[in-house]
Symmetry: C2
């Protein structure tokens, strides 16, 4: 369709957008699939993106940007809302979850921002020790990602979405209660 040297009008945002579309479609994600959607040779993507992992990181960070800022006046509820929104976001893009699992440590600016928002909630809730904040943040992030991954695992009994979200909410309440050191009753065994 195009001779070597002819421009295709590709841009970095366009590549990221195409990657999102491939991820949200049924097809399995690959560089070649993204290129195919753009009507371009597979290696053309490397002019705009470092590689597969970087591309997935970009998609991930773009999604995280959509997370709303939690209410600052009620820190516990704000934290719960924030983590629930994160979990919902992951469930809405299941094909991204495996990559999220592998990339838990290294993240983009919006992931970093999410971490700092969580820290603010913890501070406002009275968790002043920085090490305690780090522990709480890691545990909560693991819970969100791990639970989303549980929903992705398509084997045997696929685990209904209601059950998944109820399980997540129960664990989240226990973790937040624990991290905040309060004796307030959570939501005891839902379903």
């Amino acid at each position: 369709m195009r001779a070597p040297g002819q421009r295709a009008g590709l841009t970095r945002p366009a590549v990221v957008q195409a990657a999102r579309e491939v991820l949200d479609d049924g097809a399995s994600f690959s560089m070649r699939a993204v290129a195919g959607r753009l009507g371009v040779a597979p290696n053309a993507l490397y002019s705009h993106v470092g590689g597969r992992d970087e591309l997935l990181d970009l998609v991930l960070d773009e999604l995280l940007a959509a997370l709303p800022a939690p209410a600052t006046d009620a820190p516990r509820a704000g934290l719960v809302d924030l983590m629930t929104a994160t979990h919902d976001l992951l469930l809405a893009h299941p094909r991204l979850v495996p990559h999220f699992v592998a990339r838990q440590g290294s993240r983009g600016p919006n992931a970093r921002r999410l971490g700092e928002t969580m820290r603010s909630c913890l501070v406002a809730a009275g968790v002043v020790d920085r090490g305690a904040q780090d522990t709480a943040i890691r545990v909560l992030v693991v819970h969100a990602i791990g639970n989303a991954a549980l929903g992705v695992a398509a084997d045997g009994a696929p685990l209904p979405a209601d059950t998944l979200r109820a399980t997540y909410a129960a664990g989240l309440a226990w973790l937040v209660d624990g991290a905040l050191g309060s004796a307030s009753a959570g939501h005891p065994h839902p379903a």
Copy 2:
């Protein structure tokens, strides 16, 4: 080395053992790597094993068989010990963790046995509602797998093993406290 038709003396346990060795070595896991270690053509494995996923499931289940039975007289401590042993086991075989993440639902006999052991602990601790047991089991398993996956993610700051285990222990205490509905103080913010 061998003409088509010549036996190589391959057995199913030998294939599983070779897979374990490849996983615990530095090299990345592949059917071809397992076959290479056995001095056999890649497709020879399919005479003894259904495929890659089934082979990894077999390795996984063999590892889970090594988990010790927890003390039955102290249900809370037994549950904590059991989950800690599971976490340690996953940390000892990091290259298996991504597969474990993907396969959370469908498991072999020893995984099933682990689930029932957890249920027994919960019953002994006074959690009689079956739905509550299921929720607790899912949350605890997600915590163990998710935390182990966090240790595997080799990017940026690799997160020291001490920190990882301390984070796991803190989250585990919070979850067990929550699941058991007790107001007993856990281990507040370690590290």
